[in-house]
Assembly symmetry: C2
Homo-oligomer: 412 residues x 2
């Protein structure tokens, strides 16, 4: 079976001038790819009738499916339906159902529809209307150049809802799509290039398609499997990949690292506290990003000044004087101190030099000591990180959380 070709068209002056980062195209590309489409072209154009008409001719000529986002609002520079009518030699006429819907929406928030919104109900007369239950502007669908073209608003929430409830069912009805299965191996503590190297023999041996994605400090390996593959084969591939990835893989198709840690803590009815210096609260901010984290996260301190390390985490001032704030003994004392003060099962700590200033010959920028105090002893690692302040903080926070994950999974 030949794979179907998909084209994406993003429209809007705010996108073409770089004022807005276009996340719609990447999101749609990922959806289409996982459905088995080849996304062969993404186009971005400004709010100009001629340009959009050109893009629509070009795109529809190169694909089986085209999805266009943006340009469906009520203002002068929203030109999509005008272009669709022009290109398909149709005309705009009032769509009463759409007008009723928009008026009802305004009524539901106690307002009268502004006259400008009538424009959103003027639609190409022969197009299929994709009702938008999540906003005012409906989507529009036409066939052009033997290509199914869908036009949806650029507001991500509305675009995603129209994809799910209008476009996806239509694509599934029209095309024989073998839904691919996707295994995402989520890894910490290993570089993308190292992952690629580790997985290369696996890829060759099984002739499978692997994708790699970096979301600092995490790296992911994505394994796409065809729908026809027997369940046992999937299981075998999954196990083999896990063998290769080893302790670095914290989950397959799982939640993120703090969710995995949260689930483990909840299961074990255990609790956590943090004492951060150079990570400045990043670890506690990540932990508390998980809904329900209040059931296992007791407290965090951001002990930036030396006095705060003593006052909040009980680090003896003499210890700081003897070894310096950025040292193994201080990291360990912080982790054990916060664990004791909070009465938690675990205590995490970080102390280091995030830069750009503050480095010395002995302790250059990027030197970070991290520790994890547990009921059975305290783990410590010294990191030597590189890069910007932001990068060093992100890597140090990730490594600290991952140290706890490895302990909880019995890997340390």
């Amino acid at each position: 079976m030949t794979r179907k070709r998909a084209i994406l068209l993003s429209q809007g002056d705010e996108v073409i001038t770089g004022q807005t980062l276009d996340s719609n195209a990447a999101w749609l590309a990922e959806q289409l790819t996982s459905l088995g489409f080849d996304v062969v072209l993404q186009l971005t154009l400004g709010d100009r009738v001629d340009d959009i008409a050109w893009g629509l001719e070009l795109g529809s000529g190169r694909g089986d499916v085209l999805i266009c986002t943006g340009g469906l609002g009520p203002t002068q520079d929203d030109l999509t339906v005008e272009v669709v009518a022009k290109v398909t030699q149709d005309e705009l006429s009032l769509n009463q159902a759409t007008l009723d819907h928009i008026q009802a929406l305004y009524k539901s928030i106690g307002r009268v529809m502004p006259p400008a919104n009538i424009k959103q109900a003027m639609l190409p007369s022969r197009a299929t209307i994709l009702r938008n239950d999540w906003g005012t502007a409906p989507g529009v669908q036409v066939e052009h150049n033997a290509c199914q073209a869908y036009f949806v608003p650029g507001v991500p929430r509305e675009m995603k809802a129209l994809w799910k409830h209008r476009i996806l069912p239509d694509l599934q009805a029209r095309f024989d799509l073998p839904p691919e299965r996707l295994l995402v191996f989520r890894c910490m503590g290993v570089h993308e290039s190292k992952l690629a190297e580790l997985m290369a023999p696996f890829q060759d041996r099984h002739g499978v398609v692997l994708g790699f994605r970096t979301m600092l400090p995490e790296n992911q390996v994505k394994l796409r499997l065809s729908a026809e593959l027997p369940q046992e084969t999937e299981e075998a591939l999954r196990e083999e990949a896990l063998q290769i990835l080893g302790k670095n893989c914290y989950g397959v198709n799982s939640g993120n690292l703090v969710q995995v840690i949260g689930d483990l803590l909840r299961e074990r009815k255990e609790t956590l506290a943090t004492a951060e210096s150079c990570t400045g609260g990043n670890i506690s901010a990540q932990i508390t990003s998980a809904p329900g984290s209040s059931s296992y996260f007791l407290q965090g301190v951001c002990a930036y000044a030396n006095a705060a390390k003593t006052q909040q985490a009980g680090v003896p001032a003499e210890l700081i004087q003897a070894h310096g704030a950025v040292s193994e003994p201080v990291a360990i004392a912080m982790a054990e101190g916060i664990r004791e003060r909070a009465g938690s099962s675990y205590g995490l700590s970080t102390t280091g030099i995030a830069g750009p200033g503050g480095g010395t010959q002995d302790k250059p920028v990027g030197t970070v000591h991290i520790a994890c105090a547990t009921p059975t002893g305290t783990h410590h690692i010294k990191l030597a990180l590189r890069g910007s302040r932001e990068r060093i903080v992100s890597l140090a926070a990730g490594a600290t959380l991952d140290m706890l994950r490895r302990h909880l999974q019995g890997l340390l």
Copy 2:
């Protein structure tokens, strides 16, 4: 003078399949727009020779300048130079200076260059080589279809350096570019739609171009001015806009909110401490993202559990019992408590319900009390926020920091 047309081409399977969000194109589009170019087309293509060659012909035929990112790495699927040679009827030959540079780079980190990297020194013989002092792959420049085409690596750090040191000077030498001046008004506590409404009369009155950008929780108004505009006129426009924006504007072409706060604290030789509940460390993480923040940020606590609010910020347990943890008295006690314990000039606090669970009729999800303790008294605000957990945390953290900014600027 007619404006010059610019085209962007992003290349790579990871981008076209949506695995990687392409921030390069938006960044370059903003640079080119501010230089006075019309960015008329952005193209994204996968790693296929025919597709890239097609895109290069198409793009160069529609623009005066084309910038292509990606496809310059050492692996099989890095095809850019091959395509450039093909399209310009050139051939690849070894560029000794580039090879020397790559070998020296490897030597500097104590490694021998892998044979695969020789590929990065095989370059179109007639192209101009853009030396890359920030990585291995050089950029390449050719003229094709009367269009200046630049090819640079997709690694953002290298791309930005090559833009600044190679492409920008070349564009300035080739084209008569009237450098536009850009005033960015950075605002907190006001919605984008409200900003647009406030600024509409200003825009009409002066016939200027305004841009709006939301970077939650901040909103920006961008005013582009032509190079020919007299300095006095710019000053007058700036003052008038500031009058309209009022207290919501925290800076013009300034650093971000925590940098502005940091500068104010440093100037005044004052210090800060934080006690966060629902924001979970986000405020301290933001404050400490500013280099040098250790000179004014003493400590933060993330007092998630009630016991932690008492232990770390001295909030009387009876107060929590009487009013609940999410209440005005507790927010005030947290701010004043952490200020006293840390011995800092200011104390910031948050306590609220970030959701999705935990809301009640009286205190629905999104109820957040924030406070700012100062030498002259304590400010308090009750927020009623909407949206996801992430959004509520972000808005609450922003509002708390902005409360301190307004106090420091004498606006409260």
